[in-house]
């Protein structure tokens, strides 16, 4: 997997509330990877972890995001050689905007603009292949990638609880 720390201010607060947003359309094959990951995490009932599953990021998520210290955006990604890719994300000003076009960075920006808090943000992108067909179910590679990403996230959450960067727990 790839870990790409962004150019974000480091924070050191403790006892963090973590939000996992898994988004995508499960009716479009591997586009359902984000919800599938969130669906795998939710039943575990992990302490300090809120799980949100949705079709797409929208402006509405700003309120929920602002109520947390760390947010992990889980989404499918095309053309990703690795099983998954973890990237830091900060606020961004979108040049255009639509209900289908809220990026993680824009969602963070909205959280700050509307509700006064910008948590630390991470994108957990999971590699998928089949996006064009209408239909449920993951491709075999996406399914394998989902297992690896889920295993990684479960292992990483304790570190995130203590530190928004959680980088101390990571290995390449």
């Amino acid at each position: 997997m790839h870990v790409i720390p962004g150019n974000i201010d480091q924070t050191t607060a403790r006892g963090r509330k973590i939000l996992l947003i898994g988004y995508g359309n499960p009716g479009r094959g591997d586009d359902g990877l984000g919800p599938a990951l969130a669906g795998a995490i939710e039943p575990l009932g992990l302490r300090d972890v809120t799980v949100e599953i949705d079709y797409q990021l929208t402006v509405d998520h700003a309120m929920l995001i602002a109520a947390h210290d760390v947010v992990v955006f889980a989404d499918a990604m095309m053309s990703l050689d690795d099983a998954y890719c973890l990237t830091r994300v900060g606020t961004e000003q979108p040049a255009t905007f639509g209900s289908h076009q809220v990026t993680p960075g824009a969602a963070l920006q909205l959280a700050g603009l509307l509700f006064g808090n910008v948590p630390s943000g991470w994108i957990l992108a999971i590699g998928g292949d089949a996006f064009d067909e209408v239909g449920e179910g993951l491709s075999p590679r996406a399914h394998g990638n989902l297992l690896l990403a889920t295993e990684f996230l479960i292992g990483w959450i304790p570190a995130l609880r203590e530190d928004a960067d959680g980088l101390g727990a990571m290995t390449e």
Binding site: G24, T58, M63, A95, F97, H100
Partner: protein, 480 residues
């Protein structure tokens, strides 16, 4: 040199579409087309599924209005279950209505505040870097906060009636699988008056825009057309959940009225054109040239005899008066109509929350099993038709969906052409602001061009301009 301009995709709409504008050597607009570039394929996807599952599955058609598909499919399966259309138990009927009003409310709020308001508040040709929802939030933070909280209220209504915010399971063949407990009711009631106040404020913004920009509104994508919607069976009032079909011509004369929607296929025909995946419905007796019609909030304001909630009815009267007592054909008046419906939905939600039938325990009705069912509902974007055949093993063997945006296909295409001729013709240099006029016309219909696969890196925003030799001469774009 003649040119072909492509807007691909149209932004701030639900899903993906593309506009092409062909211009001659004198920069006059020759032709325009709104292409729908995604193939939905859902009708086939549903075939072979159990009837109960279809009601849940069809929600995956759309991330914005899944509840409309959920309820429309449920209405069709009610008929398969042997009920006369609309013959639910009082609790079943009112729980579904509550769900539907929550859906229409939150969908309209999303459209008005997040997609349309940047054009209305800043102007169509204002700086595009600011002409977006973030710009609105920066300049009008209270409006932005209200929009989020109104959406949250609507989604909470959906969650408590459908079971989940998305992909709910509340509606089942013949009724509903839950009622509303008192504590949940009281929690919603504690917010409803605030929602009504905010809805009135939103209505004032939309009405004010149309009244203050009358010359623009009257000339912008304004053309006579037929209008179609459900109306209440007993008196022709606005009814978003159930009723009979009414179609009026441009002069307000009925084409058909109080038609049982199970006979929709006798009066509507779906035309196919080679350049779009989306069909072009028209009224059979009038033919494709004159039989096309518009649906949606403005069409509903035109077809409804009145509205049975007082604040929305007063607003309906004001719109009628503004329109000289006749039908309103202005594309931009859709925003005003949409906010009237926002007020109506909160009034309905408030009244329903006070109704003890929501705590009833008689949730499901049954009749003699049938092999075919049709459901029709007024979704946020307009009339929505679901038609199924189900075999003796409860498997769906046939599915036909006519979604609101399909009904509006011809109307949107005409609006694009009207606006392109008025704002682009004769212009040697086409600016972003001019092209945005075209998008504003499409956006006013709140089209849902089918939900997008949106994996990271899959959201191109691109405008391309071609010369007569099909050579790309300009491009502006980014990857979201």
């Amino acid at each position: 040199m003649s040119r072909k301009i492509v807007i691909d995709p149209v932004t701030r709409v639900e899903g993906h579409g593309k506009v092409t504008i062909r211009m001659d050597d004198d920069h006059r607009v020759l032709d325009t087309r709104l292409h729908i570039v995604e193939f939905r394929g859902f009708e086939r996807f549903v075939q072979g599924r159990p009837m109960w599952e279809a009601i849940v599955l069809v929600q995956r058609l759309c991330g914005i209005c899944p509840v409309s598909h959920h309820l429309c499919a449920a209405k069709a399966m009610d008929v398969v279950s042997g009920l006369s259309s609309g013959a639910l138990t009082p609790t079943g009927d009112k729980m579904r209505r509550l769900m539907h009003y929550g859906q229409v409310f939150q969908s309209h709020v999303l459209h008005f505040f997040h997609l349309a308001s940047p054009d209305l508040l800043f102007g169509m040709e204002s700086d595009p870097a600011h002409r977006n929802i973030v710009g609105v939030l920066e300049s009008f933070p209270e409006i932005g906060r209200r929009a989020v909280l109104m959406r949250k209220f609507g989604q909470e209504v959906i969650r408590v009636t459908a079971g989940k915010k998305i992909h709910g399971t509340g509606a089942i063949p013949g009724g509903i699988n839950r009622n509303l407990d008192i504590a949940t009711r009281d929690r919603l009631l504690s917010e409803v008056d605030k929602m009504l106040d905010w809805a009135q404020d939103a209505l004032a913004i939309a009405r004010g825009y149309v009244e203050d920009h009358r010359a623009l509104v009257d000339a912008f994508g304004s053309f006579p057309s037929n209008h179609l919607s459900l109306v209440r069976e007993t008196d022709g009032a606005l009814d978003l959940y159930h009723g009979r079909l009414r179609a009026l011509d441009a002069a307000s004369k009925p084409i058909f009225d109080m038609l049982d929607y199970c006979d929709y296929h006798k009066v509507l025909v779906e035309d196919v054109r080679s350049w779009s995946y989306m069909k072009f419905p028209f009224i059979r007796d009038l033919g494709p040239e004159t039989g096309w019609y518009r649906v949606g909030p403005l069409a509903r304001m035109n077809t409804a005899s009145y509205i049975d909630t007082p604040m929305a009815n007063a607003a309906h009267g004001a719109l009628r008066a503004f329109s000289g007592g006749g039908l309103n054909h202005s594309t931009l008046a859709n925003h005003w109509a949409r906010m009237i419906e926002v007020v109506h939905c909160v009034e309905e939600i408030r009244d329903l929350l006070h109704d003890p039938d929501l705590q009833g325990s008689d949730l499901v009705a049954r009749g003699e099993r049938r092999l075919e069912g049709i459901g029709v509902i007024e979704a946020p974007r307009g009339n929505l038709i679901h038609h199924y055949r189900v075999d003796e093993h409860d498997q769906v063997t046939y599915c036909n969906l006519i979604v609101s945006t399909t009904h509006n296909n011809e109307g949107m295409n005409r609006a694009v052409k009207d606006v392109a001729i008025k704002h682009l013709s004769g212009q040697a240099r086409i600016t972003e602001g001019m092209l945005n006029h075209v998008e504003v016309a499409i956006r006013a219909y709140d089209p849902c061009l089918s939900c997008a696969t949106h994996a990271l890196g899959q959201m191109p925003l691109q405008i391309e301009i071609y010369n007569a030799n099909a050579r790309l001469v300009d491009r502006a774009g980014q990857c979201m």
